[in-house]
Structures are given as structure tokens and as C-alpha cells.
Symmetry: C2
Subunit: 133 residues, 2 copies
């Protein structure tokens, strides 16, 4: 069973972005966190069983900062939650999909994740999350 | 309560796109439908309480075809489901967000929808759906 975990939107400024997503649209702002290992500050806006994440680059050398500079603000990636992350990665690899890291990484909460490269998914940066136990 | 209803991905070819989304990733293919009023064929891939929709342009003059030509394949829009569509549209308008149509449109299933223009949302084409009764 695959679920949409989050949609990440790159923005130049988290506070300014909240004018649309939180104040006008009405999504709740759950928390803001610094994620220095990805070079971003993140605002988490829960939406049903998933969430919208707003990403503001904090490091001009980060992938997110380069994306913002090249393509402008907008949707950066789509994250899907899978039952078995390593199994999903093996199936993608077998199908010729390029993974950005060979092994899953772990975020600050210990959750395992991996990215599939947009050049082998049809233009979408797809993140996979292991289902939370 | 706002939920993620779907993420729409524009692709040049629905069958080729299924090699990644259905065969490699394992999303189920629920159905494929023609939506001539938007100039697209759509494959619906349920994912938890939401879905991924793959859009293949069938009319070279459609907005989706122009998007594909200009930006290449990738995420086209994000659709959020809201309790009260007209109320949400009024709040967006009051906040200075540009709506693509003044009044909600209705799709083939009778569901009301509206789009907010990416130039006033921070680069994301946001569709709003009325919650299904």
C-alpha cells in the first residue's frame, strides 16, 4: 500500500509563503524545523493523512537552493510512503530507475528515505519513505 | 479540513509512464479516462486517501500540452480538497490570490473545482476540489 506522504514546495521565504498556504488557504502550521543536512528550513503543514512541506534554502550550495535558482519557486518533490523501502528500491533498480543514493538515508527522526532521479521517473523527483512503525 | 486529493503529472505518453509509476513503483492503475474538455487522457493511480493522476495531452492547444512543451514532463498541479469550495475561493480572492475562473467549473462527474494561478501561489498551480458529498 503506497500513500502520499508529502509534497515539498521550494520557496524563497517561509514567512512570505505562509501568506498563501496558511493564511489564505487555511492549512495549519504544525511546526518549523531546521534541516541543516539538506540545507533547508522546513514548515510542516498537515493535510489529511499527508502534508505540504515548504522548503526555504539556508545553504546556497544545497540542491534545493540550486533548484530554486534554476527553476524558480514551485513543487520540488513528491514523497510516497511504502511498506518496504529496501524492497521498493530493489524493484526500481531492477526496472532501470536511477536512485540518488545506493542505500537509504535516515532523517533526524530516524526515518529511512531514498530519492529516485527525475531523469528516470519522467521528470518528477520522487522521494520514498519507509512506513513509520 | 483540507486533504491532498491528487498530484497531476504531465507525461508525453500514458503507457510509457506506467512503466515507472505502475510497473516499477507498484501503484495500482484504477482506470484511464478521456477528458476532452481539458484536452487530456488521464490515468488514475490511487495512493492512500489521494491519487496520482498521469495526464497525456490529446489537444496540442490545451494548457497541459503547452506546459509539457515549455517545461517538459513533471508535476503539473496539486489538487487539495476543501470543505467549502466557494468559501475557500472567497478567502483566496480576499487575500489577493488570482483565480483562473471566477466561478467554479464542474467536471464530468459533477464535482466542482477551481484553479489558483501559480503566479499568486508561489509557483504552484493549485486546484481546489469541493469535498465529495
Amino acid at each position: 500500500m503506497i500513500k502520499i506522504n508529502h509534497i515539498a514546495v521550494v520557496v524563497p521565504d517561509l514567512e512570505a509563503a505562509q501568506a498563501f498556504w496558511v493564511e489564505a488557504l487555511g492549512l495549519p502550521l504544525e511546526r518549523v524545523a531546521s534541516v541543516p543536512e539538506e540545507g533547508v528550513d522546513v514548515a510542516f503543514l498537515p493535510a489529511g493523512e499527508g502534508e505540504i512541506e515548504l522548503l526555504q534554502p539556508t545553504d546556497p550550495e544545497s540542491g534545493v537552493a540550486r533548484y530554486l535558482e534554476k527553476r524558480g519557486p514551485g513543487i520540488h518533490h513528491l514523497c510516497l510512503e511504502v511498506d518496504d523501502l529496501e524492497g521498493a528500491m530493489a524493484r526500481l533498480r531492477a526496472a532501470g530507475v536511477e536512485l540518488i543514493t545506493e542505500q537509504p538515508r535516515r532523517n533526524a527522526e530516524g526515518r529511512a528515505y531514498a530519492f529516485a532521479h527525475p531523469r528516470s521517473t519522467g521528470g518528477v523527483l520522487v522521494e520514498l519513505y519507509a512506513r513509520r512503525d
